[in-house]
């Protein structure tokens, strides 16, 4: 098992090399593809394959083949990194690399509260559906969704106030 910093540096190095490699260096692309395919086989392949499909329309571009190959290799590398490394480790490394604390703590809070707010959105939508309220026109549907998002923001600010109180209670700053 590799340590998190080593994995992050390796992944970034592979992405940089792949982007910089001139189209036509067959040996590099073939070897990297084989390594990544082997690594991918250990993971959920269908989930990865849906991401590769995004690149298919680009095959129509002139010289699109190499572009798609590069893009897919980079996406796969980053996916392997994201799915094998705790995000908090990546955050700790960025903090150590000198990224300002305010930015890192914003990213950390975003990561922490993302699933909470996604759950809240789904809960609000389910509550509306359970009350069998159905908008009659597209205009009403837009207004309903706008009101939903607005309510979500108000709840988010109230949550942020509670988080601040909790942070202070635990001796932040």
């Amino acid at each position: 098992m590799m340590s998190a910093p080593a994995k992050i540096i390796l992944a970034l190095g592979v992405v940089l090399l792949t982007v910089a490699a001139p189209p036509g260096t067959w040996w590099y692309f073939t070897i990297l593809t084989m390594v990544l395919v082997l690594a991918t086989l250990a993971m959920r392949v269908r989930f990865m394959a849906t991401r590769w499909l995004w690149f298919v329309p680009l095959l129509l571009l002139p010289g699109g083949g190499w572009l798609v190959w590069k893009g897919a290799l980079c996406v796969t590398t980053m996916m392997l990194l994201a799915n094998t490394t705790p995000f908090t480790e990546i955050l700790r490394l960025t903090r150590r690399a000198g990224v300002p604390a305010l930015l890192v703590s914003t990213v950390a809070l975003l990561y922490r509260y993302l699933s909470v707010l996604v759950d809240e959105t789904q809960r609000m939508q389910r509550a509306r559906q359970a009350r069998t309220f159905r908008p009659r026109s597209r205009r009403e549907r837009w207004q309903m969704l706008g009101a939903l998002a607005g309510e979500l923001f108000v709840r988010s600010t109230e949550r942020a106030e509670r988080i601040y109180t909790a942070m202070c209670a635990r001796g932040w700053r």
Partner: protein, 253 residues
């Protein structure tokens, strides 16, 4: 509009990286001076809110649906500096966790959307607010922010010799002029909904204008850097007339 890895060449990636670092650095410096401690968690939670709100699909046509991008929304609710930081966080998480947008293109994506989109949107919003109400100002600002990000994206791709500027610009502008309409409408609806519930969140006192101006300067440098080399390739009005009337060969170079 998230540029993936491999689309930008080294010089474009570096230039956008420098601009993005400058913009975000300026925003962080400004936020450190003016942000109250109790607003620190608000940045992260608003970023999470932008992320969650992007899941709500607004029906545009029977098969097409749009969703919020959130640049102007964040700018109005957090002020320019806070919005730049929150949207940078959103783009960083999209890049590292969801592989939406490449690592080498992260600087470009941050500059196009989090810096240029937010600051342009904020500027247009403040300007429009002098004459118009909340809803219309937000709608116009949302449209402008989306289109300016698309123009920058097209210019960066053209800089990297992905395709000709004459093909890229109309294609990107055309699509995003329509997406911008939806973005403007959604931003306006959400802001009106928030203003109805908690008016003090929307009607914030004006932030120090010069900090927004400094950020605007970064955006202007970026526009001048990337877009102007292409703008002069276009035939200007006289050249076009000369071409159509067929006396262009008489010009003395």
């Amino acid at each position: 509009m998230h540029i993936p890895d491999g689309f930008l060449d080294a010089k474009t990636a570096l230039a956008t990286g420098v601009l993005a670092a400058g913009g975000v650095g300026l925003a962080l410096w400004q936020a450190k001076r003016s942000l109250q401690p109790r607003q620190v968690p608000l940045l992260g939670v608003t970023a999470a809110f932008v992320f969650a709100a992007q899941m709500l699909n607004f029906p545009v046509l029977p098969v097409v649906s749009g969703h919020l991008l959130g640049t102007v929304l964040a700018a109005v609710l957090l002020g320019p500096a806070g919005a730049v930081i929150a949207l940078t966080a959103v783009l960083a998480v999209q890049c590292f966790l969801f592989q939406d947008g490449g690592v080498t293109a992260l600087g470009a994506n941050i500059f196009n959307m989090a810096v240029a989109g937010t600051i342009t949107g904020y500027g247009v919003y403040r300007l429009a607010r002098r004459w118009l109400g909340l809803a219309w100002s937000a709608a116009i600002a949302g449209w402008c922010a989306t289109v300016i990000s698309a123009i920058l994206c097209a210019a960066e791709l053209a800089w990297s010799d992905m395709a000709s500027w004459r093909v890229l610009l109309p294609a990107m502008m055309g699509i995003h002029a329509v997406i911008g309409l939806a973005e403007g409408a959604i931003t306006a609806l959400v802001l009106v909904a928030i203003a109805r519930r908690r008016p003090e969140l929307v009607e914030q006192p004006t932030t120090t204008p010069w900090s927004a101006l400094a950020l605007g300067l970064v955006v202007a440098i970026g526009l001048a850097w990337f877009v102007s080399p292409f703008a002069c390739q276009w035939p200007d009005g006289l050249e076009q007339v000369a071409l159509t009337l067929g006396f262009d060969h008489q010009a003395v170079p």
